[in-house]
Symmetry: C2
Subunit: 333 residues, 2 copies
DNA sequence: AGAATAGTGTCTGTAAGACAATATGTA
DNA sequence: TACATATTGTCTTACAGACACTATTCT
């Protein structure tokens, strides 16, 4: 069996020399990164959770909604607008590590589900300088969690999320291709806290119920010609969201919806013990549609593990509690 | 109806001032990017195609195989090793544009299927300096295509690709979690051209048939604890591939396999007109397993459009030619 | 004629959709 | 006891897997 060194050199006797006659060692010793312009690289975190509101009727279960964590910017640019938490990647860490670090600073949780989403590099997306953003999606159980505003923010809050297609159009192009545009309304709603004395940036938008409400419009455009297929997201109206973050959130929720039915992703939104109804509500909150109970339980069955515990004092029949399956972890991914 | 300006300012009378009393305009005018260390950002392209080899028997159809384009590095680091084509993103373009540009420079094709894969940022992945790589997957029809080595390469070649799971292990961790490791062998094979006079770097590996053969090992590691689920790819043995490109190729082929059955991705590997058998062979090359003819044709039917043309002189019954469907573009994505 | 592929028909098993029926703790 | 949810049963439909059969051109 042939062994191979997993290092950046090999076992040849003579070291390889390049066109200038340098060995790799000599080349690296003399390497100058030069002064080409370089971007900053940042991470933006789309942190999802599900949470239920208080229910007036003691018998009824609270309705679970999908939520995303936003911070309000305390400095320019987009001062006073709401943004995804995030920060710059440091030279001695990976983007994954930076994302995990940001997540921990903001929420105090680590070791949760974290997935790289997409890297955004639109020219001018940050008015300060060239910033490329590597975005991540995190799924967490937010029960008993206190969020923190970082140093670039004066507030952090969970926003209930609604992302619905407004309109859809298919248009035939001259060259025989087709342009397919799906227009989504992204609506983010949060409880508006009492204005405290430091709160010198007025909240930009409150709805009739006194809730803070942000609305943005994102277009998902697919151009198809005989050979190509180009997909792009465009912020048609960023509303009171900073940067291109409406687009990042839109992409995140589409990704989440696309994936959640084919693996056990949604289980990361659950606490240690949960009922199947809670799990189903999480799916429904993500997909924004109702699922059939019997079919859902059939599909969830291999992903979860029975416990002998039950809910109590619910005003109706108790429900068995489950946990994530540790045995039969089937065909995730 | 409320109108909103889609610009980076809003309609308030007084411009917002930050903690230093600056308006956004003043802030940006005085903004200094500072001298924090910044990375270079590069794109790496995994360019896939399918192509058939000559068949000895005039009756038999040529077997189609999945191929990927590699270049041989003409400079340090990894001098003489094979690498994915790619290059640096320039300040006034997006990573998408840089990827399209690189693809065009290398192959002369544009307007093809191009999808962002993943951004790699491992510390030390490039021995020269801090380089973050934003990788892309392209699917092209390579018939009648001549590939070009860029200025950082002395050769470019299509490599037949095999990516097979070698071993799989599930291991229970102390904390109650589980580590799931899938080990893949990535084998890349190309016809070895006659060594020309400029070819002063010996080809590192030729197999018995005189073909150029590169072998690498990639591990796909999934760590699952009660709350977390961390997925990572590790190059266990990079063989004669440069940088972390074995991992990028592995991720690309896994992505391709995962997606190809749920949409019309594979059609981008086909020429304008193709037979259903050719299309099926492309699927089989990607998935590395045989498909049933009848079932395949049922599934392909909504993705393609009949033409009145047929293959000729095939040594057997002619086959109807199809093109990508332009009408009923179903539920791609 | 025979080789090899093209194209279609149909049986079967599995899983999802739909809906109904039964079970049970709490106010 | 009634309410609201918990849990299970089963009929129907859709579709993928499997395999067999027929059709057609070229040498």
């Amino acid at each position: 069996m042939k062994m191979r060194e997993n290092k950046n050199e090999d076992s040849r006797r003579e070291p390889l020399r390049d066109a200038n006659g340098l060995t790799e060692e000599e080349f690296l010793a003399g390497y100058d990164a030069g002064d080409y312009e370089r971007p900053s690289i940042a991470t933006d975190m789309v942190i999802f959770t599900v949470a239920g509101e208080k229910e007036e009727n003691y018998r009824k279960l609270p309705k679970q909604t999908l939520r995303v964590l936003l911070i309000r910017r305390a400095g320019h640019p987009y001062l006073g607008r709401w943004a995804l938490p995030g920060g710059f990647v440091r030279p001695n860490e990976t983007a994954d590590q930076a994302a995990a670090r940001e997540l921990f600073e903001e929420t105090g949780v680590d070791r949760v589900y974290l997935e790289q989403l997409h890297t955004f590099s639109d020219v001018g997306r940050d008015p300060r300088t060239w910033v490329v953003s590597c975005s991540y999606m995190a799924l967490i159980d937010s029960r008993g969690l206190q969020v923190q505003a970082g140093d670039d923010a004066d507030r952090a809050a969970w926003f209930e999320l609604s992302y619905r297609m407004n309109s859809e159009s298919r248009e035939r192009l001259d060259e025989g291709g087709m342009l397919h545009v799906r227009r989504y309304e992204l609506k983010l709603t949060a409880e508006s806290p009492e204005a405290d004395s430091n709160d010198f940036y007025a909240d930009s938008a409150k709805n009739a119920a006194g809730k803070l409400e942000l609305t943005a419009t994102v277009e998902h455009r697919i151009t198809r010609t005989s050979r190509a297929s180009i997909e792009e997201y465009v912020v048609a109206d960023r509303g009171d969201l900073a940067f291109d973050h409406a687009k990042i959130i839109g992409m995140a929720i589409e990704r989440l919806r696309g994936r959640v039915e084919e693996n056990d992703l949604a289980l990361h939104l659950m606490p240690e013990l949960f009922t199947l109804t809670e799990l189903q509500q999480a799916y429904e909150a993500i997909l924004d549609r109702e699922l059939l109970k019997a079919a859902f339980r059939r599909k969830a069955e291999p992903l979860v593990e029975k416990t002998d515990q039950y809910t109590e004092n619910a005003g109706h029949r108790p429900s068995r509690l489950y946990r994530r399956s540790r045995e039969d972890w089937g065909d995730y991914r």
